[in-house]
Amino acid sequence: MAIYSKEQARKIMEKALSFSKADTCEVNLSGSESGNIRYARNTVSTAGYRSNQTLVVQSSFGLKSGTATIDEFDDASLEKVVRRAEELAKLSPENPEFMEPLGPQQYDESKTYIEATANITPEFRAQVAADSINPAAAKDVTAAGFLNDSNGFAAMMNSKGLFAYNKSTNANFTVTMRTNDGTGSGWATRDATDIDKLQASMASKRAIDKALMSRKAQAIEPGKYTVILEPSASEQLLNNMLFSFNARNADEGRSFMSKEGGGTKLGEKIVDERVNIWTDPMNEEVPSAPWNGGGQPLKRMPIVENGVAKNLFYSRYWAKEKGVEAVPFPSNGIMAGGDASLEDMIKDTKRGILVTRLWYIRTVDPQTLLYTGLTRDGTFFIENGKIKYPIKNFRFNESPIIMLNNLETLGQQERVNGNLIPYMKVRDFTFTSLSDAV
């Protein structure tokens, strides 16, 4: 059994801690069950099921700590794993950055578990695939897709009295539709905590429409263009940017948040004042765990407010060094949107490009947060408020910082990979070359 209730988890962890002889001991218990189906060429290709459970024990003596794990939870196994962590701790070199476990904390009630998602069967997955393949085949389109669902729990306890428990479910669906003449491709992604909100067949329909619309794309010159970025196009760039809000790197002078001559850009305006980004584990649309693996409570917290960098993320060690409060890395990201629908945004665009997706994104220069990558699966030219024709894909070289400084309009939000991201219109987005890829 991979999924334990709060009380079952508490009992196992209490037992493990009872064997501890170390200065401090912290245990993390987790388990998950997940299933997937993959299809391509309008037929199923692979499918699988995975179940696992783990207890991680970290014991410490002074600044020396050791970690051991086990997947069996009888008394003898629990004692064995605790002894092993203690032996490893005694053998390890002192870590000057070691932080003692936290004491008891208060956590919000999580919204991350939905029973229906936990009850998905192989037959359900096969049906999702069939509901994607059949409408594709009917329109001379070939479907390739992937559905993965998971159901899991995480719990922790330590010798300082901290206890935390959370259950969660998640389902992710992506689909690529390619026209059989090889000239059109469309893509859509959906993810949900509640399987009833996944609407995979709607995503398949959207991808089929994009594939049909994108046939026989025309080449236009690379250069700077106004773009409308769908949420799935900007999500990774934004995520990469947030991941770089690391206080230590900024303090050490090796981050785009470092300031020339020392110090950081914390508290400074770094992007357009309409940009507001925060984290909120309690958000109904994108709920996430109310605590992290170290037991720190996760709360709503601003990251960028009215264009100003409001928080950098401080590990507990770095916070102590700098004499500030620790700021945990967020478990989700939410960017404020506006009322405009995609249709409104297209209507208000004189000349621009609609981008479904940006892909193969890699860092070019961490100093300026410059990334490169390509458009994919549906790129369209907009003129005088209308989509005129599909265009060939572009390679871009752009920084999310420059992108958010060139903001024109914020549209409605959509959930992408557990984050809420708005449609965005941005001017002067830099495309540097053409790609023949469909």
């Binding site: 096969a126 993965n148 992506t174 070019v364 390679r395 420059i402």
Partner: protein
């Protein structure tokens, strides 16, 4: 662990690498790595439980992989050990064909009961999916191998080398970098031992012991509001700890004027860290490149990644056929181009070979993960596309009846599928050194080491950076350059290949954590080449102000 978490942990920003949680397994002590796993006779017995259960449930084919995966990773920064990780993962993965459909399940309960339960699950999944199967699985024949074994030819098992020795070596390299002007250093050692047992209803029982190692670092220099990082010039290898010996006989001098040393089958991490610090400092004030057309002189530890992305991936048959359409994409190298027999992938000088047997390479094994004996074959000969990379259930689609032996799974709990073999560029046949090559270039750039990389989903348009860039003017290396990236189209690029250094310059590049598939799996693969010249490639300037 997501890729970016790992990059953060390792403090390294570049390279085709990824480290998923499923590979980590459970933490154990370094001593426990030396404990022998389940013996071969018992593995055979357990595998037979899976095969017999599958057959009794109506499977027409089944294979079982019992895997013990041992990993040891050491992470340091400056004068501190950040983390030492020893992990073990043990279990069985069972794959079946029922009603012409694949099913797969895995378990870490390697007992008859656990195996029977997992086999039942695999068959149930196959049956559920067979209802929507329109293209029944057709396997290329494989003759049973009986009971055989294979082992990476290593000289020093990493498991026998004390952690303290590894830590000392990394800290010595870090100190060398700091003494030579670095502000920060992150270094790491990745060591992997896959002990895997394969059995199938074809009558194969294959026991293999596979070793890999990757030492790496990032050395950062800071000045005038800028920071520059120079990555290690090491390559991940299919070798034992002997790779760390730093033998002079395996060193090669870089082009005159660079002061660089490059490494073949033995790596001197302290020497490389010393030079890295000097180069990182030099980069802070190096000239920003003028964009335009340049003749590129690409060092093997750089060119390997370009080969990987622009040759290795597009010639994976599953991509060509559309099986990867929803994730990595498809390929420009379509079947009609191959069938034409005259598709010019590159210039006449370009010979690209796939090889799962090359000694010291990451991809070398005796048998792949569906029991096919490994081999070497041509992909591009005299510039013409001649073949792909294919496994048992797909090779019939290119009218061949023998698998190429390049099926792989990252772990016992993931299903095996087609993965890239080592794909390498053959060395030039005429005597031609790196200095001969530089002398012949009027306006060019020498690029060494791995950097930023990105390519489209059909592998036409790519952009690559590197670690160290040197301007070449009128046959001489001038100073270092900054802000360099080149953009090209795969076919155009390989057709601009005009010169290849001889075999004395040949080295392996490696990707330790190459990602593919859904759920994503990693694999390790090498790419060999000698320094190679490409004419008139478009170079852009990546400098920006924010």
């Amino acid at each position: 662990m997501k890729r970016r978490d790992f990059v953060q942990l390792a403090g390294l920003g570049a390279g085709a690498m990824m480290l998923p949680t499923s590979l980590m397994g459970k933490s154990i002590s370094a001593e426990a790595l030396l404990t022998p796993g389940m013996d071969v006779a018992q593995k055979k017995m357990m595998a037979d439980v899976a095969l017999n259960t599958a057959k009794s449930l109506g499977a027409t084919y089944a294979d079982a992989r019992i895997g013990r995966y041992l990993n040891q990773y050491v992470f340091t920064r400056e004068d501190k050990v950040q983390n030492v990780v020893n992990t073990e993962s043990f279990g069985i993965g069972i794959r079946v064909i029922t009603n012409g459909t694949w099913g797969f399940a895995s378990t870490n309960d390697v007992s008859p009961d656990g195996i029977k339960k997992a086999t039942n699950q695999a068959v149930a999944i196959a049956k559920a999916n067979s209802k929507i199967q329109t293209d029944p699985v057709k396997l290329a024949p494989v003759k049973g191998k009986g009971e055989v074994s294979w082992k990476t030819p290593i000289k020093k098992d990493f498991k026998d080398v004390p952690i303290s020795e590894k830590v000392d070596l990394l800290l010595t390299a870090n100190a060398a970098a700091m003494e030579n002007g670095a502000n920060y250093v992150n270094s790491a050692l990745f060591m992997v031992n896959e002990q895997k047992y394969f059995a199938s209803t074809d009558g194969s029982y294959i026991d293999q012991d596979v070793h890999r190692i990757w030492p790496t670092f990032g050395v950062t220099a800071i000045g005038d509001g800028k920071f520059k990082t120079r990555q290690a010039m090491s390559a991940p290898m299919g070798m034992g700890y002997e790779y760390m010996d730093g033998l002079d006989s395996e060193k090669l001098a870089g082009p005159e004027g660079t002061g660089m040393n490059l490494y073949r089958q033995s790596y001197d991490i302290v020497e490389d860290a010393t030079l890295a610090a000097k180069q990182a400092k030099e980069m802070l004030t190096a000239k920003s490149v003028d964009p335009g057309k340049y003749d590129l002189v690409l060092e093997p530890n750089h060119l390997g990644l370009t080969i990987h992305e622009s040759v290795g991936h597009p010639l994976e048959l599953d991509r060509v056929l559309g099986y990867e359409a929803n994730y990595a994409g498809t390929s420009f190298a379509t079947l009609d181009k191959w069938k034409s027999g005259d598709f010019k992938y590159g210039s006449d000088k370009v010979n690209l070979v796939a090889d799962k047997t090359q000694v010291g390479s990451l991809g070398a094994v005796g048998y792949d993960d569906e029991g096919v004996a490994c081999k070497k074959w041509d992909l591009v000969r005299d510039g013409v596309l001649v073949n792909y990379q294919a496994i048992r259930d797909q090779v019939h689609m290119i009218d061949q009846n023998e698998s190429h032996g390049c099926c792989y799974s990252q772990s016992w709990n993931d299903v095996q599928f087609q993965r890239m073999p080592n794909v390498s560029l053959e060395a030039g046949k005429e005597k031609y050194s790196i200095n001969d090559m530089v002398k012949d270039v009027e306006k060019g750039i020498y690029i060494a080491g791995r950097g930023s990389y990105s390519i489209d989903q059909q592998r036409y348009n790519f952009q690559f950076g590197g670690t160290a860039f040197y301007e070449i003017k009128n046959g001489k290396v001038e100073g270092m350059l900054n802000d360099v990236a080149y953009q090209s189209n795969t076919q155009e690029f390989w057709n601009s290949c005009s010169k290849i250094c001889d075999k004395d310059d040949y080295r392996l590049f490696g990707s330790f954590f190459d990602g593919k598939g859904q759920p994503s799996q990693v694999s390790a693969v090498s790419h060999g080449s000698s320094t190679t010249r490409f004419d008139g490639v478009n170079v852009i300037n990546t400098g920006r102000t924010i």
